[in-house]
């Protein structure tokens, strides 16, 4: 059977296909069980509710593909909402606010990348420091939730982009999809993207092959910081507030989405489409639980935990077969 599946689909696509199959199965199961579940808008709502997570998970995918990890993304999202809210209330023009927030995100990401690369600090530790730093910065700005009343942000929150029929999405979804598209292009069609994979496959070899490993590692943490900041802006569109307690634990959701999407935590293997499916599965679990109505929201965590366990085992089996 191994030979058979190996011949039909290359093994590297297997995790993504399993994820896609799981998503379809969940959608069909939900559709047969719950009234009104079986509509395209349910899927679109998953996108609308999780656009910010999708963007953050894209950044996380870059980092994990190099074999690293970024624990700071949740705090960075909160910091982005906070900075945006404060600057808007101070009367800054929205465009300037967006630029500043994105620069802060990319800058902090670059800083962590420098710690990791030049001082050879474990990514786990360096980004853990970044996580505390960003969360702490939120509270120095303010301990309360700061509402956002800026017309541009409110418009972004309330606009419905019609897709024909009764279907619609929010502008945030468009941004998230654009980010996914650009990131997929970068990963598969550019030298930088391929160096990301090479670094994750074998960093030592990549260096001896003359590839710019240093620039690549700095690059992925900068991208992750940038994506967190952008995710924070999307969350600010969605919540219309800045708050230091936004997105607590989001980093773990992002990592879970990437892993469920079939990307190896050890780096070098995975696809962005997997990450998209991972985010959709996490969102769909929440949807199922809200349709069920009688289950407490903790069941989300239980399902995510079970899924993660299953996928890590699956990865183990697949990479074990290689040997």
């Amino acid at each position: 059977m191994t030979a058979l599946t190996g011949a039909v689909v290359p093994r590297k696509y297997l995790p993504v296909l399993v994820t896609a199959g799981l998503f379809l199965a969940m959608f069909i199961a939900g559709g047969t069980r719950y009234e009104g579940f079986f509509s395209a808008q349910v899927v679109l709502n998953v996108f609308i509710d999780n656009a910010f997570l999708l963007v953050v998970a894209v950044g996380m995918t870059f980092v994990i593909l190099t074999g690293g990890i970024d624990l700071s993304v949740g705090s960075m999202v909160a910091l982005a909402t906070m900075v945006a809210a404060v600057l808007l209330n101070a009367g800054w023009p929205p465009v300037a606010v967006i630029v500043v927030v994105l620069l802060i995100g990319a800058g902090l990401g670059l800083g962590m990348g420098c710690m990791i690369h030049f001082f050879e600090i474990q990514p786990f530790i360096a980004t853990l420091a970044g996580m505390f730093l960003a969360r702490g910065l939120c509270y120095t700005i303010g301990t309360d939730s700061i509402p956002i009343t800026d017309p541009t942000f409110t418009a972004a929150a309330q606009t419905q982009v019609p897709l024909g029929g009764e279907l619609w999405i929010s502008p945030s979804v468009l941004i998230a999809v654009a980010v996914v598209g650009i990131a997929a292009y970068v990963l598969h069609q550019t030298r930088f993207g391929r160096t990301v994979y090479a670094t994750g496959g074998n960093e030592q070899s990549a260096r001896l092959m003359g590839l710019p490993v240093a620039r690549t590692k700095l690059g992925v943490y900068t991208i992750s910081g940038f994506c967190s900041a952008l995710g924070g802006l999307l969350l600010a569109f969605y919540m219309l507030s800045g708050y230091g307690l936004h997105a607590v634990g989001l980093e773990l959701d992002a990592i879970a989405a990437v892993v469920i999407g079939g990307t190896l935590l050890t780096g070098g293997s995975g696809f962005l489409i997997g990450t998209v499916l991972g985010v959709l599965i996490l969102g769909l679990i929440q949807t199922v639980i809200s349709f069920q109505g009688t289950l407490s929201s903790w069941w989300t965590k239980i399902f995510v935990g079970l899924l993660l366990g299953a996928f890590i085992l699956l990865q183990r089996v697949i990479s074990g077969r290689k040997k």
């Binding site: 290359p10 069609q189 030298r191 074998n202 001896l208 092959m209 003359g210 590839l211």
Partner: protein, 503 residues
């Protein structure tokens, strides 16, 4: 050819590592269109010299002239761009990427920053075709054997239009046919004027392909010679700096002085690992295991050490039945196992020699009863002397030692347990003639002292020289057990393997 100006000239290269002088005033001249062999024992400084040359380590002193211009390389990329390409012993490619990417990554054909995948696959296939390789360039590299990966690494090196190609032990994982293929490629490159710096432990290969050789010993240059003017024996003598007489003494076989039965395996086997076999090992006996790679040699060793579970059969030790379920149990029965892959299964490179040596003893005592530092120092000191581990510094990190000396550290770890059965899996692979001779002598001494040794080696000469009895394996079966008398030769062994033990 000798009149040509050298393409590469290294002068007075010096390199210090913490506590070790790796290179001391080394010169090297490589002419265009020659295959130049770099010879020396492990730890003589070959690898360090190559790393200095290719920009991995900066040199502490000395100059590098490429085409009569002084160059300094800050990174492997600098060296590559200057025209020095390197293929390392361990394949340094990315197994997760496709073959085509491994050949071309960093130099992909691009248009407006976008990789031209089609052109890339075509170019990679062309490069590989030059090496007579027809691979699916879209398949991940990990699907191919080490030998193929090695050739892909060479294809990558050629892609840069290298003027100097450095091959660091490229043949250690290749079979005869593949070596021939590599040599064909090397000759073609030579005709094109590429200078090749070739490092190998296989003397026959060096004599077949190299025009000249530079010999290193203890980080110094011993001299350079045209290959034809130096016999193999003279070469070895220069590499290890010892008398020829001493080398020849090693050829004597140790006398068999065996006594009672130590270990008896009856129908021991493991499904999917090795067919059931029976084997008797007596005290003071060296039992050699011969067979091709993958014939089940290592599996036999792992079963006897409890590293794998037997699915059938039984083992008796001193006539008492024992169940060797785990390595810990085997260790309490005084069985020791030096694994084949010293890096992956044995040594911890970031610990010191002392810490590595006492590891197994400490594990057997249990972690709650630490060995006093004083006692550790004495033990380690004794074995550093006995095994001639160099540098003789117990606080040196193992990663700074050469391959041969790392192997000795691993041996020392098991010897301080004073085992009754010592299992050595390929103890001499990838180490040089001098260290090899020392390890062989040590095995002979140990067996004279009453220790039983199970000796696994791919080199039949070595197995014959040391063993009192040879077990022959083929296709995961123990097909014959031959006493090592005067009639047993490598030819007989090879025929036994070839005929499957039916003759």
């Amino acid at each position: 050819m000798t009149s040509a100006a050298p393409i590469l000239q290294l002068t007075g290269i010096g390199k210090q590592f913490p506590g070790v002088t790796a290179l001391d005033d080394v010169d090297l001249r490589v002419l265009p269109g020659e295959v130049h062999a770099l010879m020396g024992e492990n730890g003589a400084g070959k690898s360090t010299l190559i790393k200095v040359l290719t920009g991995v380590h900066p040199a502490d002193s000395g100059t590098i002239l490429l085409d009569s211009r002084e160059v300094t390389f800050g990174s492997p990329l600098d060296a590559q761009q200057a025209g020095i390409s390197t293929v390392y012993q361990e394949v340094n490619l990315c197994p997760n990427l496709s073959v085509a990417e491994n050949v071309l990554i960093g130099r992909e054909p691009r248009r407006f920053g976008r990789i031209q995948w089609k052109a890339m696959r075509r170019r990679a296939a062309e490069r590989l075709a030059e090496l007579d390789l027809d691979l699916d360039v879209t398949a991940p590299l990990s699907q191919y054997s080490l030998a193929i990966q090695q050739m892909v690494a060479i294809a990558r090196a050629l892609e840069v239009k290298a003027r100097v190609l450095v091959l660091d032990e490229p043949t250690s994982s290749l079979d005869t046919g593949e070596v021939e293929q590599l040599f064909r490629v090397m000759r073609t490159l030579k005709e094109q004027g590429v200078a090749i710096l070739f490092v190998s432990h296989f003397l026959d290969q060096v004599y077949e392909i190299a025009d000249r050789m530079t010999i290193l010993r203890n980080g110094r240059r011993e001299g350079d010679y045209p290959t034809g003017e130096l016999s193999q024996v003279e070469l070895i003598a220069k590499m290890i700096g010892r008398d020829l007489a001493e080398l020849e003494r090693l050829e004597e076989r140790p006398p068999a002085r065996t006594t009672g039965t130590l270990l008896q395996a009856d129908g021991l086997g493991r499904t999917g690992g090795i067919e059931p076999f029976s084997l008797t090992i007596r005290e003071g006996e060296v039992v050699g295991l011969a067979g091709l790679l993958g014939s089940g040699r290592t599996e036999v060793a792992r079963l006897l050490f409890g590293a794998d579970h037997a699915t059938s059969g039984s083992v008796t030790l001193d006539g008492e039945p024992v169940s060797l379920r785990t390595p810990q149990i085997a260790m309490t029965h005084k069985i020791a196992f030096c694994p084949e892959d010293r890096k992956a299964d044995g040594l911890i490179p970031d610990l010191t020699v002392r810490e590595n040596v006492v590891l197994a003893l400490q594990a057997r005592r249990g972690w709650t009863r630490p060995i006093p530092r004083e006692q550790q120092a004495q033990l380690v000191d004794r074995y550093i002397k006995a095994l001639k581990i160099s540098p003789a510094n117990p606080e040196q990190l193992v990663r700074n030692l050469s391959g041969g000396n790392q192997q000795k550290v691993l041996l020392a770890r098991w010897l301080i347990l004073e085992p009754r059965l010592l299992i050595l899996d390929e103890p001499t692979r990838g180490i040089d003639v001098g260290a090899k001779a020392e390890i062989q002598r040590l095995v002979a001494e140990l067996s004279d002292g009453g220790m039983a040794v199970l000796f696994i080696s791919a080199e039949l000469e070595e197995v014959l020289r040391l063993s009192h009895k040879v077990g022959v394996l083929r296709d995961r079966r123990l097909i014959a057990e031959l006493p090592n008398d005067d009639t047993l030769t490598t030819e007989v062994l090879m025929q036994t393997i070839a005929s499957g033990g039916r003759s």
